[in-house]
Assembly symmetry: C2
Homo-oligomer: 220 residues x 2
């Protein structure tokens, strides 16, 4: 009755490591592309999953153990030829998580990626473009930070994603304008200089994106 096509969900898992953007990959255990690195992904479990985002969360949850993960749909890629087994479609989600050790995925820097299984290299590139672009006008980079962070640390995360330095004053103005982070009352420990205030994301924005009224940097 319905056409036979392969439908999967893949997750692009971003995190920071050594001040560089990394993506979490798994090694394929079966054909096709056995042995190659690929995005974590899988099939919908119709009995268990309520929708595709649930599927993506389930796949993500099997690779990390972070709470309040920010996850968003990137889009759906498809073609008659992207999977040697047949006409295939993949609904892609991307997630941002704070730096952590996970034995379930291996982290690779997004900007020097070797060949991956299927069209996953293209997908990673598209997802990286998306999050870099969103960093210009939203709170997205805070999801790469841990529970507590300083404003200079957050600025550094923004700069890593944007690939350029931003003005300190402008940065603070924009961030505080978004009204999504607050002081914890604790100071940054063990510094060799004036310690910064440790901040946290306000309750309610743990996994919700906020938009800036104007761009952080127009890249002009």
């Amino acid at each position: 009755m319905y056409p036979t096509l392969i439908a999967t969900v893949d997750v692009v898992l971003f995190t920071l490591k050594d001040t560089r953007l990394h993506v979490g990959l798994v090694q394929r255990e079966a054909e096709p592309y056995k042995g190659l690195w690929a995005l974590p992904g899988g099939y919908v479990h119709p009995q268990e999953d309520t929708d595709l985002e649930y599927t993506a969360q389930r796949i993500l949850g099997s690779k990390t153990d972070t709470k309040d993960v920010f996850i968003e749909q990137l889009g759906t890629v498809s073609s008659a030829t992207r999977d040697p087994r047949g006409w295939s479609l993949s609904v892609v989600y991307y997630a941002l998580i704070p730096a952590q050790n996970s034995e379930k995925v291996r982290l690779f820097p997004v900007d020097s990626l070797h060949d991956l299984a299927f069209d996953h290299k293209d997908i990673v590139a598209k997802a990286a473009d998306r999050i870099r672009n969103k960093s210009y006008y939203s709170s997205l980079p805070v999801f790469l930070c841990g529970d507590m962070f300083t404003l200079p640390q957050l600025q550094s995360v923004y700069e890593t994603l944007l690939g350029e330095s931003v003005d300190k004053v402008t940065f603070r103005r924009k961030i505080m304008e978004m009204d999504i982070i607050e002081e914890t009352g604790i100071m940054e420990p063990r510094t060799n200089h004036r310690p910064a205030k440790l901040m946290r994301v306000k309750q309610g924005f743990k996994n919700k994106l906020a938009l800036a009224s104007r761009n952080l940097n127009c890249g002009g």
Copy 2:
């Protein structure tokens, strides 16, 4: 081997009519939701379609006969319950076409839509949000114009989408900065006042989006 789920492609067809944004719908001829209005959609034809955008173009082509249509993926909606027949997924595309008469679809104003089949009313709302938002910073509204149009007409299209008036000078600056339209050399005919220059979209931007360097209107 693979889980059974219903995968379809649906197209949100936007056009302007009476200076209001309209969406093209078809009446369902079969159950479920027989008789209700719905987005034009269908299944992938694995033998014929190279990818999902091709599928969307094919569906669109069966409803209109416009060339150089602007079409873009909105996203994929899914859930175990959105289709009474079973776990279903719909990859949604939206297209913008100039005003035209098509007997294949009926046009409805997007802002006063009655109930539609499935979750199509939500999809239309989401798509309308998307194109309205994109109008702030891109050339998207030009795809609602015909082959030739004046700048005041184009401004009116922007204003319809944005739901607010924009400054004439600012508008012209932004549009011309994008460098996507050019003079035809012809003047607007049959006016009761000074005629405007008829413009056209530059070759190469017929169905390609251009981004403005800054927003047209910050909505602040």
